[in-house]
Subunit: 257 residues, 2 copies
C-alpha cells in the first residue's frame, strides 16, 4: 500500500514517509478514524530508525491530518461535520423564541448542546476589553464565563463582560439569565440592541486553551471578540470567545452597498 523511498530525492526521508501516508489518506486507502501502520511496521517497511518514523508521524499530527493515542496507535483524524454560524445568529427573532444563540445554532445542526463551567463574577475587565466598552480602567463589570459543548465534547469557551451599572442586580448577574439569554435581558432593561461588531483571528491554541477545549494537536482556534451596541450607540457587552476551529464554519453576509 505504501511505496518505497526514493533514494535519489532531495526530500528528507521523514517527509517522504509523511507524503506517502498523506496520499494514502487522500486516496481513501486510509479512511477517517482508521489506524495508521504502527511505528514498528513503518520502521520495518522503510528500513529506517524509529526517530525517523516518529518525525513523519509528528509532521502529520502538526498538520492536523492524524492524531496519536497513547498505547493504541496513530489514527486518521476524522474531519467532524461542522456547525455553521450564520450571520443572523443574533437576530431578534431567535431570542423571541426563547433560544440563546449557541443553543439555537447547535440544535439546528443536529447536535446536543450543553453548557458547563459557568461562573459569574464581578471584576474589572482586561484593558482591551475596557476600551471596547468605553469604560475607564478599573471600572467594574459583570463577567460571565462558560464553556459550550456539542454532544458532550467541549468546543468553545466564552467570556462576556457587561458594565456593572447595567447588569448588577439583574438576572444578567445570575448563572441562569432566563429565556433568550442575556441579550433578551438587556433589551428588557431598555438597551435595545442595534448591531454587533465581530473581530476574528485564527491562531494556534495556548496550552491552557488546548486543555480546556481538549484539542488535538494541529487544530487551530478561532478567537472572536464581539462587541454589542444598543441603539444609543453605547457598547453594552463584549464577548471574548475561543472556538475549536475544526468544529466550526463561520458564515457571514456582506452587503454590496
Amino acid at each position: 500500500m505504501l511505496p518505497s523511498l526514493d533514494p535519489g530525492s532531495d526530500r528528507a526521508v521523514f517527509r517522504q514517509i509523511a507524503d506517502h501516508l498523506r496520499e494514502a489518506i487522500k486516496r481513501g486507502d486510509l479512511r477517517e478514524g482508521e489506524k495508521l501502520p504502527s511505528e514498528a511496521a513503518l520502521m520495518k517497511h522503510y528500513g529506517v530508525a524509529r526517530g525517523t518514523v516518529r518525525q513523519a508521524l509528528q509532521l502529520l499530527q502538526s498538520e492536523g491530518v492524524a492524531a496519536a493515542e497513547h498505547g493504541r496507535g496513530v489514527f486518521v483524524r476524522p474531519r467532524p461535520p461542522v456547525r455553521r454560524l450564520a450571520s443572523d445568529r443574533f437576530a431578534r427573532r431567535h431570542r423571541e423564541r426563547g433560544q440563546a444563540a449557541f443553543m439555537a445554532e447547535s440544535e439546528a445542526s443536529g447536535r446536543r448542546p450543553s453548557v458547563d463551567m459557568l461562573t459569574v463574577t464581578q471584576a474589572a475587565p482586561p484593558l482591551d476589553i475596557a476600551e471596547r466598552l468605553k469604560l475607564d480602567e478599573g471600572t467594574a463589570t459583570v463577567v460571565r464565563r462558560r464553556r459550550y459543548l456539542h454532544d458532550g465534547h467541549p468546543v468553545e469557551v466564552a467570556t462576556s463582560y457587561l458594565p456593572a451599572d447595567i447588569a448588577t442586580g439583574t438576572k444578567i448577574g445570575e448563572p441562569d439569565p432566563g429565556p433568550g439569554g442575556i441579550y433578551a435581558r438587556l433589551e428588557e432593561l431598555g438597551h435595545r440592541l442595534d448591531h454587533f461588531d465581530e473581530q476574528i483571528e485564527a491562531r494556534m491554541p495556548t496550552a491552557e486553551e488546548s486543555r480546556v477545549l481538549a484539542l488535538a494537536s494541529g487544530v487551530p482556534v478561532f478567537h472572536l471578540i464581539r462587541t454589542a451596541y444598543d441603539t444609543d450607540g453605547r457598547p453594552v457587552e463584549v464577548c471574548d470567545t475561543v472556538m475549536a476551529a475544526d468544529s466550526f464554519v463561520l458564515s457571514y453576509t456582506l452587503p454590496a452597498s
Copy 2:
C-alpha cells in the same frame, strides 16, 4: 535567566524547557525577533541531550511562538501588525474610487500592496464551486488566480470563478480587468451586485499552501469561500481564498434584527 528543571515534576523535561522559554518571552526577557539560546547552550544549561532540547524548540515552533532559521538560530516570532478586513470592503464606494478591495484595505493599513502570479484561464470549476455557482458539472468558467503581497511578503492566494457566459470576451477574462477590479466590470455588464456570502474556516496549511505563502510553522490559514450575488439572485462569482492567519484580523458587523 532560565530556571532549572524540577526533577520531582511529572511534566516531561522538554515541556519544562519549553515552558521556561515561553515564560521568558511573555515576561519580555526575550523580545520579538530576538534569538533564543542555541541548542548547544540549552543542552549545557539543562544538562540534557540534544534531542530533548530540540523537542522543546519544536513545541514552541508548532505553537507559533518561535521560528527556526537554518544556520542562524531560533528566534522569537514577531507578531506582525495586522490588517483589518472591514465588512464594508466590497462596498460600491470603494470601487467607484477605482480601487479593488485588497488594494484599498491594504493601503489603509499603511502597507505596500502588490499582486503577482496572476493567471487567467478557462476551465470547469471543482464540484463544490460549481454547486455554489448553480452550474452543471463541467460547465466552463473563467478562472482568475493570483497572489497578494504586503510589502513584498505573500499573505494571500485567491482563485475566482466566474460563469463563462458572463465573463468570456470581457475585461474579466484579461489579466488586468481595469479600475475597480472585476466587480466594477460585472456591474457594467448589468450584474448589479446585491450581497456576498462569506464562509470562513481555519485550519493548518497544506504543504503547497505553506510554500506559496512562505508560512512559518505553527501559522494556521483562513480559508474563505465567498459567493457574490447580483440583484437577480444569481451567483456571479465564487472566490476561494487562503490567507496567512497571522497577517489578518477579519472584522464583520452583524445586524441585531
